[in-house]
Structures are given as structure tokens and as C-alpha cells.
Amino acid sequence: MRVLGTSLHELAQKSRPAGLNPSLWGAEDATVTQSNDHIRVVKQAIVDGDSESASLCTEAAIAAGLDPQVILDQALMAGTTIVGEQFEKGVFFLPELMLTGKALKAAMTVLAPALKAKVAHNQPGATVGGTIVIATVQTDIHDIGKNIVAAMLAATGFQVHDMGVDVPTKAIVARAQEVNADIIACSALLTTSMPVMRDLIGILNDNGLRERFKVMIGGAPITEDFVKEIGADGTARNAIAAARLATHLVTAHRNARAMG
């Protein structure tokens, strides 16, 4: 894709801080195998936020016969971990997160059929991240916090359906049902938009859907007390904590589903 005369890839490469090299993720063995090469280049594409390379290199890794679960864990997820750590350290910023989210999506488009095939052949351990519907609630048009969290979730391996801002509560619930989401994540910056989050929980309860979705809420004025008051499942102070919370909630949710 070319934007304003420059490709995303070129910009991603040029905008990376100097010093981001393979040493970030450890020294390589003296004898570098072909498999390791494939893993390394896919991981590099994720760290670089290079969608085109991420897609092509993932395709090449599959064609070379690498286990799709290994590609997912050791290349895609390992790459996102590096990006998350760099964001937390203040080395990477929102654009890098967004580019990595796009690259991950491109790679997953290629990898998902191979993962599904593995599941179909009853091979244990094939997993993909959970599905999250995220929105800034109706009456609130602030999106930057929601965008940062969405980018971090996407860069952490979740399938993220971002509905934007000022989204009607019923539309959020409908989309969550449509995509069979694990989590509904709602954002509000305005104190006076927080009541809409209570409405959402009410709609889930009224329609017998509360057990079907975990509900994360976030935004500057949201407190743990408010989470408890409205019966949501959790909140997080920043995007990194939100990704951790989402991972925890998805795991718990899937375990509960498996048990039930």
C-alpha cells in the first residue's frame, strides 16, 4: 500500500529506532537452521509492522512445512511480545503498535487456514487469540484511548472488531453475537457517558447473554468500584494491562465454556 508517495513498509523501516536488531530477542545458534530463518523473518516482519512481508514470509514458512502452531508461537506472538515490551519502555509509540496489528492481521489471514486444518486433524495445542468487540460507548466520541487498547490487543494476537465511537449499546451486543466474541470491551472518557456501560450490562442481563461474554470497561474515569457497581468483569489502567486482562478473561471464559 502506498500513502503519500511512501509505502508503509518504507516508513515502518525508517521510523524504527536504531538498534532494533535480532539481538533484542537473543543470540542465535551457531548453526542456523532453515526453520529458524523462517521464524526469524516472520518475527522481524511483525516487529517492523510490515504487512506485506508478514504475509509473504508466513506463506513461505507454511510452504516449508513448519508447524503452524510454531509459527504462531515463536514468530507472531514472540514478535508482538517484543513490540509490547518496546511500547512499555517508551521506545515504540502508537503508530508502531498499529502497524504491528496490521502485520499480524495479514499474517493470520495466511496462517489461520493452516491452524484450522491442524485443529481439524485433532492435533492438540492449536490455538488462536480470542475475539474482542471494542467500542467507545454511545454519547462519547473520544477514541484515542480505545484505539491504543485496540492496537495493543491486535498486536497481542486478538481478533479485534473495532466499532468506532458513539456506538449504540444494542449494536455492540449485536456485533458481539454476530462474531461470537469472547469479550466486549467498552471505553468512555466522559464521566457522563459511564452510565451507558451500565445500560450495556443491563441489556446483556435482560437478554440472557451475560454469561456468554466477558465485559471489560476502560477510560480515565473508570474505577474498580464502578466495575463492581455495574457488574463488569474488569478494567485496566493502560493498554498493556488491558491486554493482560483480556488474555486472563479469554482463558477463564473458554475454560468455563469447556466445563459447562
Binding site: 503519500l4 511512501t6 516508513l11 509509540f93 502508537l94 503508530p95 457517558s193
Partner: protein, 458 residues
């Protein structure tokens, strides 16, 4: 002739369509990254206040180029509003160089400050947007308004009225905003400064409350209200409606720009470029009378981090040198009332703003999320600003003082729960609306320290 809002709206209805995610990443983020490289913009965390006119000029040029190149996104129609260079320059040229706020003997004249201006900054007290319990609202305002050094007043917001929850855009938003103005006007009368200029309607998070108080009984023509731009470089019907109404009414528009430092612009230099672009567009899309600068740190929120203070200082220098306008700049410390760190944060931020050409607004203590702000730190903010001018602090000296002060408060950014301090009614005696002895003593100690070490007669 300045461009009128009908022309802006025509462009918002006819401009090129684009999705919002594309705007964010492929226009704002990509164009900014390219301009940062083109102009070789960089910052040094040891130089919060830079003495580098070439850098300030480059930041201005890059920001102007960004505004010209990508324009502004109109969310209501998902279209791009473009302006040519001549229009942007005309917009900047029409920004007032002086602006009277308030009336009678309480009126004050804001002016476009210069770098190291020998005139003191005006002191605008309050914690705009911070939610307040109704029972404490008026007392908070009194705590600010009674301070002699305070020139202008603003306030927090009401999220409940008579125990009822306010919903954005709901009918009670009108009640909340009118109640806010009633409390403000009563407070100003109580302290004997009825004509003091206000920035208010903070309880109006949609346009509804804002429109409902454009009335001489509430917000007068000599007062101001917010016309925000959304992150980044975005406008919509609701915010233009605020501007349209106040222009016809005759009130002052404050162009509120809250660029996220570490957001779509990337690190501090890119964030400064986005900030400049926003303020270049603001005269046209917000019909601004003055600029309200409030960068937000992506992780720490506060304006008192190194990168946010760098953005404030370089953006003010950029405009002071290239397109002078009135800049009122927010101080939102991480720490809250009854903490020493709040005073150190306030001092560092006030010095950075004062020497680089801004007026002072604050303090939005405890990130402006709680009612943990008091009149005492607003007094201190003003005293530090005035002392900085009196002592003739230059850019290099200012940077040295700020680095020392950072050493006294920077640890608060690593605290898991911040450093919120206490609520207003725990830091102030509610009968006298004066600081409790412990808070007063803390203030005097820190003031003495600053006076002895850096600022002389504080």
C-alpha cells in the same frame, strides 16, 4: 476577510471521503513520521526547555506543512477539509494579539506573550473537566477565586446534580451546566470579584449544555468556552455548533488541543508537529480567539513529564517566533493536594510555560481525574510564574531548574496508583476555605526552597 463557518461546513460536506482508521494511520501518523525525518526533528530529555531557535522554526514549518498537506478530518461526514497555504496564513493572521476577558475592574487582558517576555503571565485558576461532587463545587471555586494572584477562573465539572446522574447529551446536561454557572457566578460575587473572566461550561460534554449557557445570566460575552479538536486533527458537527453559537452570541472561543504525546505523532517531536498543525488549523475550524495547549502523555497523562513539557515549550516557542497568538497552557500534575510533589510539578511546569511564551492555567491536580485540587497550588503556580519573570530566568536557567525539580518528583510516574493526595475537603478547612495547617506548612517549605535555590523573591 476571515473565512466564515459556512465555507468550512461546505468543505466538510464536499471534501474527499476517507475512513477514520485510514485517516489516523495513513495520513496523520505516516505524514508526521515523514515530516519528522524531513526536518530532522529530535529532542533531548535533558533539554526540556530548548534554547534552539532553529529547532523551534523547524517544528513550526513541519506543523504548518502537515496542516496544509492533510487538512482536518470531519468525523460527522467522514470527509477531509482542506485549506491552501494562503487560507492557513490568513487564519493565523487573524488571531487576536490581545483579548479582554471579564468586565469592569475585574477584567484582564490576555496578550500574545513572547519568549522570555518581561511581562508576567496571566493566572487562570481551576481544574477544567475534573469531576466534582456538587456539595464541594462552589467551595472549590472560592478557593481559587479568592487568591489575589488569580486573574481568571475556570472549574471542574458536575457529574451529578441533586443526586441525579448526568448523561452526555441528556436533558440534565443543561441543568448541570446552568448549575455550574450559577455556582461560579455566586462564588465570584462572594469573593467580591463579580466581573472576573471565566472559562466555563465544563459540565457540557456534548454541545447541549454549552448552548444552554450562552446567556448573560450564565456565560457572558466577555467569557470563554471550549471548542475542542478531537485527536488528532478532527472536528465534527457538535464542536462546530459550539463555535457557531458563540460567534453569533459574541463570546470567546478557546481552541482546545490535547495531542497525545506518544500517540499518532509518535515520540515528542512528532507530537509537537501534530500540535502545531492543530493550532494552525484551529483559527479556521474552531473559530478560535485563543489557543489552549494541553498535551497528554500516552502513559502518564500528566503535563509534567519531560516529553509533555518539551512539547509545550517548543510549540509555544514555535508560535511566538512565527505566528504569535495568545497561548494559555494547562498544568495537569500527576500528584494531588497535600503532596510536596504536586508543588514541585507545578513549579517545573509553570517555569517551562512562562519562559517560552504562555499564560498559566491550572492546576488539574491528580491528572484532573479527581477533586484533589485546591486554590493553594493555583496560587503557587502564579507565584512561580511571576517570580520567573521577575528573576529574569532565561531558557538555559529554566531548563536547569526544571531538571532539578524533576529529580524531586519524577518518581511519582512509577507509582502504580499515581500520587493522588487527598480530596479538596481534606486539604482545606471547609468553614474558612483556607488550607489546613499541614498543607499550608508544606507550601511554605517548598516555596522557601525554591526561593532560596532558584527564584529569589518568590
Amino acid at each position: 476577510m476571515p473565512m466564515d463557518y459556512c465555507e468550512i461546513l461546505d468543505r466538510a460536506y464536499q471534501g474527499r471521503t476517507i475512513s477514520e482508521p485510514d485517516w489516523d494511520l495513513e495520513h496523520v501518523a505516516m505524514a508526521t513520521a515523514r515530516l519528522v525525518r524531513k526536518y530532522r526533528l529530535a529532542w533531548n530529555p535533558q533539554e526540556i526547555v530548548t534554547d534552539d531557535p532553529a529547532l523551534a522554526d523547524a517544528v513550526f514549518e513541519a506543523g504548518f506543512e502537515l496542516a496544509r498537506q492533510i487538512g482536518c478530518y470531519f468525523r460527522s461526514t467522514e470527509r477531509v477539509v482542506m485549506f491552501d497555504e494562503r487560507e492557513l496564513l490568513q487564519g493565523l493572521a487573524r488571531m487576536p494579539q490581545t483579548l479582554v476577558l471579564g468586565e469592569g475592574t475585574d477584567a484582564r487582558t490576555l496578550y500574545a506573550r513572547r519568549i522570555m517576555d518581561d511581562r508576567p503571565p496571566l493566572v487562570w485558576a481551576g481544574n477544567p473537566g475534573a469531576p466534582h461532587p456538587e456539595a464541594l463545587f462552589q467551595a472549590s471555586v472560592i478557593s481559587w477565586a479568592k487568591e489575589p494572584i488569580v486573574d481568571l477562573i475556570t472549574c471542574g465539572s458536575l457529574s451529578h446534580v441533586d443526586g441525579r446522574e448526568i448523561r452526555t447529551g441528556g436533558p440534565l446536561e443543561i441543568l448541570a451546566t446552568r448549575r455550574e454557572l450559577t455556582y461560579l457566578r455566586d462564588a465570584l460575587n462572594q469573593v467580591g470579584r463579580p466581573g472576573m473572566g471565566m472559562l466555563a461550561a465544563q459540565s457540557s460534554v456534548s454541545e447541549l449544555g454549552d448552548l444552554a449557557v450562552a446567556n448573560p445570566d450564565y456565560l457572558r460575552r466577555c467569557d470563554a468556552h471550549l471548542v475542542p479538536m478531537s485527536n488528532e486533527l478532527k472536528m465534527d458537527h457538535r464542536n462546530v455548533a459550539r463555535a457557531v453559537n458563540s460567534i453569533d452570541y459574541g463570546m470567546r472561543n478557546a481552541a482546545l488541543v490535547c495531542v497525545i504525546v506518544g500517540g499518532l505523532g509518535g515520540d515528542a517531536p512528532g507530537s509537537a508537529v501534530v500540535n502545531v498543525a492543530s493550532h494552525v488549523l484551529a483559527p479556521l475550524v474552531t473559530l478560535a480567539h485563543y489557543q489552549l495547549l494541553h498535551p497528554i502523555h500516552i502513559k502518564h497523562v500528566a503535563t509534567t513529564t519531560r516529553s509533555t513539557m518539551w512539547v509545550e515549550s517548543i510549540v509555544q516557542q514555535a508560535f511566538s517566533r512565527n505566528a504569535p497568538a495568545i497561548f494559555v497552557t494547562d498544568i495537569y500534575p500527576k500528584s494531588g493536594a497535600l503532596t510536596r510533589e504536586l508543588l514541585y510539578e507545578t513549579a517545573a511546569n509553570a517555569i517551562a510555560i512562562t519562559v517560552t511564551g504562555g499564560h498559566l492555567e491550572g492546576c488539574g491536580s491528580a491528572d484532573g481525574l479527581l477533586h484533589n485540587a485546591t486554590g493553594l497550588e493555583a496560587r503557587f503556580m502564579g507565584e512561580v510564574g511571576h517570580a520567573t519573570v521577575r528573576a529574569g530566568v532565561d531558557l538555559k536557567d529554566a531548563n536547569a531548574i526544571i531538571l532539578d525539580l524533576l529529580g524531586k518528583y519524577e518518581h511519582v510516574f512509577d507509582l502504580p496508583d499515581g500520587n493522588p493526595g487527598v480530596h479538596f475537603d481534606e486539604a482545606y478547612d471547609m468553614a474558612t476555605i483556607e488550607p489546613v495547617p499541614e498543607w499550608q506548612a508544606m507550601y511554605e517549605e517548598v516555596k522557601r526552597e525554591l526561593s532560596t535555590k532558584w527564584l529569589g523573591s518568590l
